[in-house]
């Protein structure tokens, strides 16, 4: 037993801060923290000095001043007498609406293209590949600008719809006419779609600063109720299937439950459509969907669809052929195999990257600036910033809002991910 070891030394030496694993990480972290704090302090100090030099102060009171400008597309009530905060909300709603519609169309389109790319039809497969490659490899901005130009260049002016007495006398047709049974007019300013109107109204209530129509509420309630009833019906069908092995036919009952009450309510309230009509310079009545919105939605959807198509394709390919074969060998038909075996598994692979595409799309809505769509960036980060000169506040607020949207979406994604995790050893 002749080993020479230094007697274990106790006590603290300064070098332990760096060489002792226990303290080392604290040392590093404290250094980092101090550096970080110094950097933050430096930035704040600079900001304060700069603000002082420009005679500005940092506060958000300007949000409650009169905005004074008009917004073409306002989905919540807004006039130029409202304050900047309200304008911000209008912009936020516009952002969310574009994001929502974009995601919806992109998913549908991307899903179809992804599946078609896998089809054994050579021509379609090639076309879809070209689509995906072209849209993925060209900047989104180009698609936005292009779809805007196409929309406004290829559509007729409102006056082309005009029918004058002379024309009737001469038996001439107007240069353009409304589509979808004369209910929708596509002009070079936007798409005029019919608006729902009620003969008998239930009135409306004020919730916070938003008036909510009771009619709308009634419809939502009825729809929710029918959906619930339909789910009961399906659950019942499933129970019957489990008990007897045979699944009762449900589709006509479903249809009845889903659409019956809504139709009944429609007649009860006397819902009818207000068809847009050419009056003066423009179509009046109905709802005007501006081309900036349409173009942005289309471009975002087309662009993102290319990415989603790839996700869908690789998601389906990720499910090994063995799964299909096993299902076939058990006697399952192709469509059942798809719905019971492939899709449930593919969705787990598809959904996480899909959601991050949604996130990208939502962030990309800020490119609405290219077509002057008044979204959050256009109102808060555009006109409000410009009129009030509060770039620091406006930009920070805007980033904060975008960040919150992103974080909420990714939190949902994590929730989903952990709930569908495949069980493994």
């Amino acid at each position: 037993m002749a080993f020479a070891s230094d007697a274990p030394k106790d006590g603290f030496r300064l070098s332990m801060l760096i060489y002792d694993t226990r303290y080392r990480s604290y040392t590093i972290q404290i250094v980092v923290l101090v550096l970080f704090a110094m950097a933050v302090a430096w930035l704040l100090n600079n900001t304060a000095q700069n603000l002082a030099a420009r005679g500005k102060e940092f506060n958000f009171a300007f949000l409650w001043q009169r905005a004074g400008y008009d917004i073409g597309q306002a989905l919540i009530p807004y006039t130029n007498d409202d304050n900047h905060f309200r304008a911000l909300l209008v912009g936020l709603v516009n952002t969310l609406v574009v994001a929502f519609c974009g995601c919806l169309f992109a998913t549908v389109l991307g899903g179809i293209i992804g599946v078609l790319r896998l089809s054994n039809n050579w021509l379609i497969g090639r076309l879809m590949t070209i689509y995906v490659e072209v849209f993925r490899n060209v900047p989104l901005l180009l698609w936005i600008l292009l779809s805007y130009v196409i929309l406004s260049e290829t559509t007729p002016q409102p006056r082309d719809f005009r029918v004058t007495d002379e024309m009737i006398a001469a038996g001439e047709e107007p240069a353009a006419s409304m589509i979808l049974f004369g209910t929708v007019a596509v002009t070079n300013r936007g798409t005029n779609i019919p608006a729902p109107l009620f003969e008998r109204s239930l009135g409306s209530v004020q919730i916070g600063f938003l008036p909510v129509s009771l009619n709308l509420l009634a419809f939502i309630l009825v729809i929710v109720a029918s959906v619930w009833a339909n789910r009961r019906l399906l659950a019942h069908a499933k129970a019957v299937q489990e008990a007897t092995g045979d699944r009762p036919v449900t589709w006509w009952k479903s249809l009845l439950i889903l659409f019956g009450p809504v139709l009944a309510l429609k007649f009860a309230l006397g819902l009818h459509l207000e068809i847009p009509e050419l009056k003066g310079f423009n179509f009046a009545g109905g709802i005007l969907v501006a081309h900036s919105f349409t173009a942005l939605t289309i471009a975002l959807a087309l662009y993102t669809a290319a990415f989603i198509a790839e996700i869908v394709r690789s998601g389906i390919l990720a499910i090994s052929r063995g799964q299909t074969e096993a299902a076939y060998a058990l006697g399952l038909r192709p469509n059942r195999t798809m719905s019971l075996i492939i899709l449930p598994q593919a969705l787990r692979v598809i959904i996480p990257p899909l959601i991050s595409q949604y996130l990208n799309l939502t962030k990309n809505t800020s490119l609405g600036i290219a077509v002057s769509y008044l979204d959050l960036r256009g109102t808060l980060g555009g006109i409000t910033l410009n009129q009030t000169g509060r770039e620091l506040e406006c930009m920070l607020l805007m980033m904060l809002i975008y960040l919150s949207i992103s974080l909420i979406i990714s939190a949902l994604m994590n929730l989903y991910n952990s709930s569908v995790q495949l069980k493994a050893r």
């Binding site: 700069n50 420009r54 005679g55 500005k56 004074g68 400008y69 008009d70 917004i71 073409g72 130029n80 406004s152 260049e153 002016q157 006056r159 070079n188 300013r189 009056k279 003066g280 310079f281 423009n282 009046a284 005007l288 501006a290 081309h291 900036s292 600036i369 290219a370 002057s372 008044l374 256009g378 555009g382 006109i383 910033l385 410009n386 009129q387 000169g389 770039e391």
Partner: protein
């Protein structure tokens, strides 16, 4: 102050438009030209003695004031409207009005409209980031009529939309309208409505508090005005300097007195400016006046002696 910075740098940085025909736009080889641009060049000639030592930084409606405040540009000459809040809240100084303008409307002739008050229900294209959208909202509100705004980021896009018929009327400063109209293939089919719904005094802007610099810019501008008043042009300035008997002209051209030196520039600074870009009238005529494609009449911008508003304080 900014003056010393500019001298030290040997270059003047001007915030300009990203491209507005006649007022400030680069040509195919990147040389900037225009009404606003020439004022910058004049300032450069005054401060540095060389009108070419200017760097133009294109700014958008959103970035322009920040660029000035942060010192990124020394001078903002980007047809910016002088308003109360910009002058006070943004800590900026408008040093002069080099162009008196007002917001107007342009419509197609066959629309059958002869007054802006008949525009009820019309779709109106506006450029965002300016005072125009506020004026527009106010105007329609006052007259109790409605409109559908289409906000557009820049002039060429606004024109494209207007020409394509995506809006019934295009509103911006009357000078801009005229400029646009002039470049349209069928200029005769468009009319500018008589209503001018706002006052738009456009002028060069400097940072608040730097009075010396403000003076340099202001007096450069006035020098150009006085030059027009006295018939001094880029062609005859040397001759006039040599021969004039007018004391004010002598002071202006640095023949006598030390006005330039008092301001911190060379004594013949203003002579240089006139030599380089000409007097106000020349600048106007060269860039936007009658005979150019823009084809604007002097109107309000005529000298006070000719019934306009351009009036320079005495140079003494």
């Amino acid at each position: 102050g900014t003056l010393d910075d500019v001298k030290a740098r040997g270059e003047l940085i001007c915030g300009s438009n990203t491209g507005l025909t006649g007022f400030g736009a680069p040509d195919a080889s990147g040389n900037w030209a225009g009404f606003d641009v020439d004022l910058c060049r004049a300032v450069a000639a005054v401060v540095l003695g060389d009108a070419t030592k200017v760097k133009f930084l294109p700014t958008t409606g959103e970035t322009r004031f920040t660029a000035l405040q942060s010192g990124e540009v020394d001078l903002l000459v980007r047809n910016s409207t002088w308003t109360f809040s910009r002058d006070t809240e943004l800590a900026l100084d408008f040093v002069a009005v080099n162009y008196y303008d007002g917001q107007g409307f342009m419509v197609k002739k066959d629309l059958g409209v002869s007054s802006a008050k008949e525009l009820d229900g019309a779709t109106v294209c506006i450029q965002t980031g300016t005072t125009t959208e506020l004026n527009l909202a106010d105007f329609f509100k006052q007259n109790n009529i409605s409109y559908q705004p289409v906000t557009v980021a820049d002039d060429s896009e606004a024109q494209r939309q207007y020409l394509a018929g995506a809006c019934d009327a295009y509103t911006t400063d009357a000078s801009g309208l005229a400029a646009s109209r002039a470049t349209m293939p069928d200029a005769d089919n468009h009319i500018i409505l008589p209503e001018i719904i706002s006052k738009e005094p456009l002028g060069p802007v400097v940072r608040h508090g730097d009075n010396q610099w403000g003076d340099v810019v202001r007096w450069t501008y006035y020098a150009l005005l006085i030059a027009e008043e006295r018939g001094i042009t880029s062609a005859n300035v040397n001759e006039v300097a040599a021969s004039t008997a007018d004391e004010e002209v002598k002071r202006l051209l640095g023949v006598s007195g030390d006005m330039g030196a008092k301001m911190g520039v060379s004594n013949d600074a203003f002579k240089n400016a006139i030599l380089a870009v000409g007097n106000y009238g020349e600048i106007f005529a060269r860039n936007i006046g009658e005979g150019t494609t823009i084809n604007l009449a002097r109107g309000l911008n005529a000298l006070w002696t000719q019934g306009g508003l351009q009036y320079a304080p005495p140079f003494r």
